[in-house]
C-alpha cells in the first residue's frame, strides 16, 4: 500500500515538474507547480512529517503560489515564440546524462548514520507538531530568530523595490 502511494506521488510530482518547465503558457506552468507542491506534501505525510505537510500546503500552495499567479496576471505577458534557450537540446542532453550517472550512484550507495531519538513511536505519542516545536525552540532558537529578522528584511526590501520610482526622487522642474 505504501509502495502504491509512494509510486503515485512520485510519478505525478515528476510529471508536474516536467510540465512546469516545459509548458508554454506561464499560467499553465503555475498550475503545474501547484500540482507538484501538493504531491510533495503527500510525500511528507508518507514520511511522518504531518506538520511540514500542513506548512507546505499553507505557505507554498497557499501563499507563494498565489503571489506568483498574481504577478503573472498583473503583468499579462504575451507568450513569446522563442520561449526556450536556442541550444536547449544540448543542455537537456547534458543534463540527462549527468542525471543518469547520478541516479546509478544513488541507487548503489548504502545509507546509514547515527540515529537520533525521534523514533516513530515517540512521534506518535507526542504528536508531530509538539516534536517540531520542542526542537525548534530549544536547539534551533537562534536560527528561528535569524529567520524572523531575515523575513522582516525581505518584506521591507520587497516594498522598497516595488514602490513607484516617482515617489523616491521627484522630478526637478
Amino acid at each position: 500500500m505504501i509502495y502504491l502511494l509512494f509510486g503515485y506521488f512520485a510519478t505525478v510530482s515528476i510529471i508536474a515538474g516536467v510540465m512546469t518547465v516545459a509548458l508554454k503558457n506561464p499560467v499553465h506552468c503555475g498550475l503545474g507547480l501547484l500540482t507538484l507542491l501538493l504531491h510533495v506534501a503527500g510525500l511528507f505525510v508518507l514520511l511522518n512529517a504531518e506538520f511540514l505537510f500542513a506548512v507546505q500546503i499553507i505557505v507554498y500552495a497557499g501563499a507563494i503560489l498565489v503571489l506568483y499567479l498574481f504577478v503573472l496576471m498583473l503583468l499579462s505577458l504575451k507568450t513569446e515564440e522563442q520561449y526556450l534557450h536556442r541550444k536547449y537540446v544540448w543542455i537537456i542532453f547534458g543534463g540527462v546524462g549527468i542525471l543518469g550517472e547520478l541516479l546509478i550512484l544513488i541507487l548503489q550507495s548504502p545509507y546509514g548514520g547515527a540515529k537520533g531519538d525521534a523514533t516513530a513511536e515517540v512521534l506518535l505519542t507526542t504528536g508531530p507538531s509538539h516534536a517540531v516545536g520542542i526542537t525548534m525552540f530549544s536547539d534551533y532558537l537562534l536560527l528561528f530568530e535569524i529567520v524572523g529578522v531575515f523575513l522582516l528584511g525581505a518584506i521591507i526590501g520587497a516594498i522598497v523595490l516595488a514602490k513607484p520610482p516617482a515617489a523616491i526622487d521627484p522630478e526637478p522642474e
Binding site: L72, I92, Y111, K115, L151
Partner: protein
C-alpha cells in the same frame, strides 16, 4: 515496520530527478517568472531529501531544516517578484536575455 518501508534510495533518486528538472528549467527557460518557479522546484527537491533522511535516521533536524528552507523560499519569492515588477516597468519584458543592464 522496516518491511513496509520504501527504501531511502527511492526518495533520494526522486529528489535528484526533481532537482535536475528544476535546474534544466533555470537553464533553458527565458521567462524570468518561470525561472523563479524552477528554483522553487529545486528547493522542494532539497526538502524531500531533508525530510526523508530525517525519517530514516529518526532525528528532527531534517524537518527543522526543511521548515527554514520554506521560510527562505517565501522571502526569495517576495523579493524576486518585486525585482520582476521593477524590471518589467522599465523594459516591458521579462525575458532574461534582454535584462542585461548590469552586464559590462
Amino acid at each position: 515496520m522496516s518491511a513496509m518501508m520504501v527504501p531511502l534510495s527511492a526518495y533520494v533518486g526522486l529528489s535528484a530527478i526533481l532537482f535536475f528538472t528544476g535546474l534544466l528549467g533555470v537553464l533553458i527557460r527565458r521567462n524570468f517568472i518561470i525561472v523563479l518557479m524552477s528554483v522553487e522546484i529545486m528547493l522542494n527537491a532539497a526538502n524531500i531529501n531533508l525530510v526523508a533522511f530525517s525519517h530514516y535516521l529518526e532525528s528532527m533536524a531534517g524537518q527543522l531544516a526543511a521548515l527554514f528552507v520554506i521560510a527562505i523560499a517565501a522571502g526569495e519569492a517576495a523579493v524576486g517578484l518585486a525585482i520582476i515588477i521593477v524590471v518589467f516597468r522599465g523594459k516591458i519584458s521579462t525575458n532574461v536575455d534582454q535584462i542585461n543592464v548590469l552586464k559590462w
